[in-house]
């Protein structure tokens, strides 16, 4: 191993210092670059995170609004369905009561007279060749060829209910 001549150490000192300075400057630059890059990266990440956060917040709010709208629509529909079902229940209850009352007509002292009037009506509608018989449900039925007339009490009651269907609404509407 050769040694440097005496005095060379001192002569090389400025070179060493220059090299050291350069290295230090390069290191400082690298460090600054790295810091800058890190700061940029962090900034971008933060911006991206903020963006994601905002989007998520907006989407969440929209989804929540849509959910709320859908659930309130569901609730309204359910409420409406309940009201309508109740109305239908009242209507069928009335129809059942009317049919029940009609059965009582057969025990009414005026029933034979009703039968006579219904028979006359059947004869009038179907003509003289008609055969008119009492129905087991009360009232009469008549036939003439391919034509059949149903004047049985349940049918007449149904007919009357239908003719006055506008009044049935008063069960759930005032006036």
């Amino acid at each position: 191993m050769t040694r440097l001549p005496q005095g060379a150490e001192a002569a090389l000192d400025p070179v060493r210092q220059a090299l050291r300075r350069d290295a230090e400057t390069a290191a400082a630059r690298s460090e600054a670059d790295a810091r800058q890059q890190a700061a940029d990266l962090l900034g971008r990440a933060q911006a991206e995170a903020d963006d994601i956060h905002r989007t998520a917040q907006r989407e969440g709010a929209e989804a929540a609004r849509a959910d709320a709208a859908a659930s309130s629509a569901r609730a309204r529909r359910q409420a409406r369905r309940t009201v309508l079902a109740e109305q239908e229940h009242l209507r069928s209850l009335l129809a059942a009561q009317v049919q029940e009352q009609v059965r009582e007509v057969r025990r009414d002292p005026r029933y034979p007279q009703i039968l006579r009037r219904l028979t006359a009506e059947a004869d009038r509608i179907l003509g003289p060749m008609a055969s008119v018989t009492e129905s087991h449900k009360g009232g009469v039925t008549g036939t003439a060829g391919s034509r059949r007339l149903d004047l049985s009490l349940p049918t007449l009651a149904d007919q009357a209910l239908e003719d006055h269907s506008g009044e049935v609404r008063r069960l759930w509407h005032d006036g």
């Binding site: 509608i125 060829g145 391919s146 609404r169």
Partner: protein, 460 residues
């Protein structure tokens, strides 16, 4: 009383069953167009309309079809009058099938008054011309093809385009500025169950508010029933408009399905077919429906009709759009290319027109600048189309600055003014502001249809 007893005479001499037709013998005193109930042994009751009376033979069209019926075991009762439906506000908030029977679990709709579904012919001199706008909240319609109270304005579409979405959006959002109650009757014909679910969901709010009547004929419901659906819808609308003073919008979708039902009955009656097998009277049949819209002297309300029709293969010469075009006052045309560019609603503004727009827009109706803005936009869109065609030939780089501005204008009109959310409601102010923003892209010298006063006041 005589009528109600007539209704109890059952006729069972069925002589022929042919498609939707039933020929009945041994009948007398039956009138044309009379309504009848058909009891089928072991099945639910069906309904019929008298089409023809010849001696003691009566031909009925059975609304539910004659499938599963045999010559024996059928009893027909005539009602002694044409089909009538109860009328009045009892329909509001209800969901019914194409014959007006409830689908919502409620009782049948009833009222003190009934009206025949065929409607009464209106003395022409009692008609008032349509006036004042119906604001739909859809920019392209409000700005460029304004719907007018009492007008009939169809939507022409092609299968696969979002015409149902647009019709439903209009039904959900439309209002009139008159201050009268605004009501909507939606008649859906030949819809899939998915479409019906969509309509019900989308119109839920209006239905719950008691402003909407929904009549739904599904694709798998009896075809012949569709002949009644628009008639029932219009009968309800007429009563709400003229007896109760509301402005009523009737949306009928899809009229092509309706016309197919008319064709089916015509074919079963062995009538001589006209174009594409549709009967020769299709024009008067459609006119009978569309002409029931309007305003009546001395009455408050109005009936506005928006029929939707799909043109098979986009053929505007198809009998249904063709004959509809003769009767209606303009059209809103949807276009597949615009739809492919992702624009909703995909309205081709250069093919669309509201002939009565002048009666519904402008000073004192919408905004003073509305008609001029609409004219300027349409004119600029036409110029943009020529510029785009030129660009295809010579390349965009060779275009003049003005032509480039027109192409940019068209892009902005499509993206900002025409394009809108499917549940986005835009006020007329918002719509006209967007229109002005698009117009600001053009050099001021090009805006020749707008007065200097409007330009100073509105140009951003």
């Amino acid at each position: 009383m005589a009528n109600s007893h007539r209704a109890q005479v059952g006729h069972s001499d069925v002589r022929e069953l042919r498609g939707p037709l039933l020929v009945l013998g041994d009948t007398e005193g039956v009138g044309w167009d009379e309504f009848a109930t058909v009891d089928v042994e072991g099945g639910p009751q069906r309904h019929g309309l008298v089409l023809e009376v010849d001696g003691d033979e009566t031909t009925l069209q059975v609304l539910e079809g004659t499938e599963g019926m045999a010559l024996g075991g059928v009893e027909v009762r005539f009602q002694g009058r044409p089909l009538a439906v109860p009328v009045g506000p009892g329909w509001l908030g209800r969901v019914c099938n194409g014959r007006g029977e409830p689908l919502d679990g409620g009782p049948p709709v009833t009222a003190e008054d009934t009206s025949p579904v065929g409607g009464w012919p209106l003395n022409p001199v009692y008609r008032e011309p349509p006036q004042d706008p119906v604001i739909t909240g859809v920019s392209v319609v409000d700005a460029l093809t304004t719907l007018v109270r009492g007008q009939k304005l169809p939507i022409f579409s092609i299968p696969g385009l979002p015409h149902l979405t647009l019709a439903t959006q209009i039904a959900a959002q439309a209002t009139a500025s008159s201050g009268r109650a605004f009501r909507v009757v939606f008649a859906a014909m030949g819809m899939t169950h998915a479409d019906i679910a969509y309509i019900r969901d989308r119109l839920e709010e209006r239905s719950a508010a008691g402003e909407l009547v929904l009549l739904l004929n599904a694709a798998d419901d009896p075809v012949i029933e569709r002949i009644l659906t628009p008639r029932i819808a219009l009968t309800i609308a007429e009563s709400l408009a003229y007896d109760y003073g509301s402005d009523v919008l009737v949306v009928m979708s899809d009229m092509t399905s309706y016309a197919e039902a008319v064709r089916e009955v015509s074919a079963a009656r062995r009538e001589i077919p006209a174009r594409r097998g549709y009967p020769g009277y299709l024009y008067s049949d459609l006119a009978e429906l569309y002409e029931r819209c309007g305003r009546v002297r001395g009455r408050e309300g109005s009936v506005t009709v928006v029929p939707v029709l799909t043109m098979p293969a986009g053929d505007i010469t198809h009998p249904v759009p063709d004959l509809t075009g003769y009767i209606t006052e303009g059209q809103v045309v949807l276009d597949g290319d615009i739809d492919a560019r992702g624009i909703y609603p995909p309205v081709d503004v250069l093919s669309s027109l509201s002939r009565l727009m002048r009666s519904g827009a402008g000073r004192g109706r919408t905004r003073e600048d509305h008609l001029d803005v609409a004219a300027q936009i349409l004119s600029a869109m036409a110029r943009a189309r020529s510029a785009a065609e030129l660009a295809e030939l010579v390349g965009a780089a060779a275009l003049s600055e003005t032509d480039k501005a027109y192409i940019e204008f068209r892009t902005v009109v499509e993206k900002e003014l025409l394009n809108q959310g499917r549940d986005e409601l835009r006020t007329l102010e918002q719509t006209l502001d967007l229109a002005w923003q698009a117009l600001s892209l053009l050099p001021r010298r090009e805006l020749t249809m707008l007065s200097a006063e409007f330009l100073d006041r509105y140009l951003p």
